[in-house]
Amino acid sequence: MLVKNSTERWGGIAKSLHWLMALGILGNGIVGLIMVDMSRGMNKLNIFAIHKSIGLTVLALLVLRVCWRMVDRKPIDEPMPRWQRVAAHATHGVLYLLMLAIPLSGWVYNSAHGYPLQWFKWFNLPALVEKNDALSDLAGETHEILFWVIVAVLVAHVGGALVHHWFERDNTLLRMLPFARLRSRNHGDPS
């Protein structure tokens, strides 16, 4: 697997970042849904700490990913109708924004509530804002709403990839999968 992107497919770095973050986002969404209903206790404290640690990791990976995206060239879009291309790129743009806004809103919530922020029991990160109950409530609600927004956008993202894979039979999904062989490109009518 090439480290860098080619015109045909994503390289190792882009793929690693994509799938690591996919795992982190999916995992943290599940952890988040479970933890809020837990009864008070050490397990709850620990699982919240893990949720925050994963969220910070996703945020750090996002920074790396955006940097890499600016450095490395992008593969050329698979042939597809213009509306699909526009929709796909809009979805990607919204996903980037959400991957930034969700951890940040969580961090603001955490800070405004006065909770500590520790990365996997290793080191602490500073509060973004002073303790503030109103802001804490607002950021907490924003965090939750944005989570459901990203769920919806991810349904479109994953759905689009699967439609391209199964129905359009192109390389949209394959070129992001690790170790997958690309299909020979269909040069026929893209519509």
């Binding site: 050490m42 700490a49 909770y115 500590p116 080191f123």
Partner: protein, 182 residues
């Protein structure tokens, strides 16, 4: 007879000078700090009674006796304040108070140490406090600092014993405004 009289006066004088009893006045605080998930937090006990006898010229005659109402704890965090009085931590239902009483005072140069016993949650352990007394009019201020290991007293035992999450060491800081005892 005359000698006896002088002796009486001396004893009387030394008695009042050595064993000065003070009254704890408004502005006195009993604070502590611990750590949670790598971050320091501060707390205080709103209600406590302290009997203070102190004399810097005869330090060994001093005595502190402090009773702390553990339910009056406050740490600026609703969840924590609800958890601390519970059975996992102070268990105020069964052990409403902490009790600190000095055994002896020691003086090493300018440094004064109150060696005492702290009883909490049915456990008694030696605890030493550094003492700084500043005389003022008929009273003064008394600042004490010390530390305890929370697990020595079973505070937050069981699942809360993980010291990577809740630090074992608790810093204690008391500030007493003292007035002459009426």
């Amino acid at each position: 007879m005359k000698t006896l009289f002088i002796l009486f006066c001396l004893v009387g004088m030394s008695g009042s000078a050595v064993a000065a009893d003070y009254q704890v006045e408004k502005g006195s605080t009993l604070n502590f700090s611990g750590s949670f998930q790598g971050e320091k937090f501060d707390g205080r006990f709103r209600d406590f009674q302290a009997q203070i006898r102190y004399d810097s010229t005869n330090i060994e005659a001093s005595k502190f006796d402090v009773i702390v109402d553990l339910a009056s704890v406050s740490t600026n965090d609703k969840d924590r304040d609800e958890a601390l009085p519970g059975a996992d931590f102070f268990n105020v239902g069964k052990f409403p108070n902490a009790h600190f009483v000095t055994r002896q005072f020691k003086k090493d140069g300018d440094k004064i140490t109150a060696e005492g016993t702290l009883t909490m949650k049915g456990v008694s352990k030696p605890v030493n406090l550094d003492v700084v007394f500043v005389s003022r009019d008929a009273g003064g201020t008394l600042d004490v600092t010390g530390k305890v290991q929370r697990l020595d007293f079973g505070i937050g035992a069981g699942e809360y014993a993980d010291t990577a999450t809740i630090g074992d060491e608790i810093q204690i800081k008391g500030h007493l405004e003292l007035g002459a005892k009426l």
